[in-house]
């Protein structure tokens, strides 16, 4: 079958900045995508997936600078979903996001309406149509961006780590839809999800500047390459009995207890109700559930960032103020950039310790330790120029230094590999503060491997 997209000997390097010497991201890679095929491109974070997706979409180097060599032969239009959906959404309603490119293309009202209806129906988010994208969950935002592609209808769809934050049922639904769409799909990811095997035609594995291609069926070689590349946590999914056992587990001496918690947002039909929830020091609790079920809301309440409408929160058996919760909780946000503001990564690491009036020698020693444990590659570089994965690690290192009683890790696994994610969890587990760790995840394998208790919200 003819290739709709042909990439030949592509290499790319971003410009260098003070403190951040750029390296070659993509090194002489070549591949073809066949028309109508579904392709999974596996590569570790920081290896150039996002850059490749933007090169294929014509955005890099046009908007970023840098040196690109090689040839790209595109026989059709491309559409892209960014790794961070917040960067791509700017309209006031989900419908407007879908309709905007159709209006810009000068289509008639009837055609726009028909395409928008079809897009919302096929991606299963008709119920979000008149909601403000700002208020959607990470998974819902990604579904919305897929709806935009569906409505605009380019022949080649490029999805940059799009399925990671979508719940298990949602992934199955979206992949099934993508497969039946007849479009050429390229999914770039750092995680080998089991469900890909069911739908993908071709896998590309990019490690150590080498690209290998696998067709379905060439299983043992492929499985070995996936394992060697660190793209999966475990070979098999956990069985339902072990999940149930983890759900039934109870903590004997919880550090934090939540009872009869209720919460609702003003001007929204969303409401959260939790009868009992607990965290224990030295133990890991994984919260799993569908997109939009309130996992992040629960963790915001626990961190004292949202006041509950009703219910009690006890820290070490005492009622607590939101400020006390703030001071006892670390929260690794989905977006690591909210708290970065200093000129270097090292200054960011030192900041929290300086607030504690710690001795400067002690600060230097501890910061060096954090840099080593979390693998911060350029401690003297501006965080804003670091890769997404490096910024996530920096955020984790900042909190690790603060030694708080509770650590909340909110779907922090996009942009970093499974191995690195587990290293972050392990670093917190080994921390002298022996914190209670709360992981919010869609990854049932991760939950089963790491957690001492699983707390399920909504259906899964």
């Amino acid at each position: 079958m003819a290739a709709i997209l042909s990439v030949k000997n592509i290499s790319f390097q971003y410009p260098s900045y003070p403190g951040l010497e750029s390296r070659k991201l993509l090194d002489n890679i070549s591949f073809d995508l066949e028309k109508g095929s579904m392709n999974i491109f596996l590569a570790l974070p920081g290896s150039g997936k996002t850059t490749l997706s933007r090169i294929l979409s014509g955005l890099v180097p046009a908007y970023t600078g840098g040196q690109l060599s090689g040839e790209i032969d595109k026989k059709a239009e491309t559409g892209i979903v960014f790794q961070n959906p917040d960067e791509q959404l700017f309209c006031s309603t989900a419908e407007k996001e879908v309709v905007f490119p159709l209006e810009a293309a000068g289509l008639s009202r009837e055609e726009i309406g028909r395409r928008a209806d079809m897009a919302f129906q096929k991606t299963g988010i008709e119920y979000l149509r008149f909601k403000n994208p700002v208020h959607l969950s990470g998974g819902e935002k990604r579904r919305l961006l897929i709806s935009v592609l569906c409505a605009t209808g380019p022949e080649i769809w490029i999805l940059d780590e799009t399925l990671e934050e979508i719940d298990i049922l949602g992934r199955e639904e979206i992949l099934s839809f993508l497969k039946s769409s007849g479009k050429t799909i390229l999914i770039l990811t750092a995680k080998m999800l089991d469900v890909y095997k069911k739908y993908a035609d071709t896998f590309f594995i990019y490690t150590d500047s080498h690209l290998k291609q696998f067709q379905i069926g060439s299983s043992q070689d492929f499985a070995d390459a996936v394992k060697a590349g660190g793209f999966c946590l475990a070979e098999a999914m956990p069985d339902e009995n072990s999940i149930r056992a983890l759900e039934a587990a109870e903590f004997k001496n919880p550090v934090l207890k939540v009872a009869d918690l209720c919460f609702s947002y003003p001007d929204s039909d969303f409401s959260l109700s939790i009868e009992n929830f607990a965290l224990e020091q030295g133990k890991i609790t994984a919260v799993i559930g569908t997109n939009g079920c309130g996992k992040s809301t629960l963790s915001h309440i626990i961190a004292g960032l949202l006041p509950p409408s009703a219910g009690t929160i006890l820290l070490e058996d005492k009622p607590v103020s939101s400020e006390k919760l703030n001071r006892n909780c670390s929260y690794l946000f989905q977006n690591p950039d909210y708290q970065l503001f200093l000129p270097t990564a090292r200054a960011e690491l030192e900041y929290g310790l300086k607030l504690q009036k710690m001795d400067s020698c002690e600060i230097e020693k501890r910061v060096q330790e954090a840099i080593k444990i979390f693998g911060i590659e350029h401690p003297d570089a501006p965080p804003v120029l670091m890769s997404y994965g490096q910024r996530k690690k920096l955020q984790a290192a900042i909190y690790w230094l603060l030694n708080k009683k509770i650590v909340i890790i909110d779907e922090a696994d996009s942009g970093i590999s499974s191995k690195e994610y587990r290293q972050i969890i392990e670093a917190f587990r080994q921390s002298p503060a022996n914190p209670a760790i709360l992981i919010i995840t869609h990854d049932i394998q991760l939950a089963a491997l790491e957690a001492d208790k699983i707390f399920r919200m909504g259906a899964l």
């Binding site: 892209i80 915001h300 670390s330 946000f333 909210y338 708290q339 503001f341």
Partner: protein, 235 residues
């Protein structure tokens, strides 16, 4: 929740009314007349958002109001200070209510109705829609920064304004970095959404239950006349 009349009002008439009102707040009239201009805006705000939500808008300009109240009397007297404060409150409330009750798309259409080219209208609309987005970013950044304090950090008194002001600076820096980072990304997004490739169309043209001429007669004309009486009669 039932939406107030402001949501149903035509965005074009609301836009002109907002501009007339803004000009009126800069006219040389007494504080009492400023108060009379302000009263219906506050009433509309309370009906539209509820008093708690509406008052929270003014928390954002509270430092500005406090500074004005503290410093202006020494230079211009108390009477002028009251006028300036009413002006700030009135204009803030006006713009807040307009953008609260008008969809981004309706705003673009209103601007285009008055002859503004599509690209200019889009730029203005995106800029205004970024204000609430920046506000959301500010709240997220403020939350993230709160969590950088530990039990070992000295407690900050509510009344220690210097310390509280210093604590805001890192949050503002984070928001600024986010905003600057968004500029090239937004340019990319507009390109991949096809802006500028064809003559744009409109999927949902402005539609109001009450015809435009009725709205003009029902509220636009009477309010404009009252504003003119308050302003011109005084002059």
């Amino acid at each position: 929740m039932r939406k107030s009349f402001l949501y149903k009002a035509d965005p074009r008439l609301k836009l002109i009314l907002m501009l007339i009102y803004t000009i009126a707040f800069f006219c040389p009239v007494s504080a009492l007349r400023y108060g009379l201009l302000l009263a219906p805006i506050l009433a509309a705000g309370f009906i539209t958002c509820g008093w708690k939500s509406f008052l929270s808008v003014f928390k954002l300009i509270l430092p500005l109001l406090v500074l004005t109240a503290a410093l202006t009397p020494f230079f211009s007297g108390i009477y002028e200070t009251i006028r300036i404060i009413i002006r700030f409150i009135g204009i803030t409330a006006l713009f807040f209510l307009y953008f609260k009750t008008t969809e981004q798309d309706e705003f673009i259409q209103a601007l285009r109705f008055f002859g503004m080219p599509y690209r200019f209208a889009l730029v203005i609309s995106i800029s205004t829609s970024y204000i609430p987005l920046l506000l959301d970013t500010y709240h997220d950044a403020a939350s993230a920064h709160k969590l950088r304090y530990t039990e070992n950090c000295p407690a900050v008194s509510r009344w220690n304004f210097t310390a509280r002001f210093r604590a805001i600076l890192p949050v503002l820096a984070s928001v600024l970095i986010q905003a600057i980072k968004n500029i090239p990304t937004l340019a990319m997004v507009l390109e991949i959404r096809g802006v500028g490739k064809a003559k744009p169309t409109v999927f949902r043209p402005i539609q109001c239950e009450t015809p435009l001429y009725k709205q003009f007669l029902l509220y636009f004309l009477p309010i404009t006349v009252i504003i003119l009486i308050l302003v011109i009669y005084a002059a």
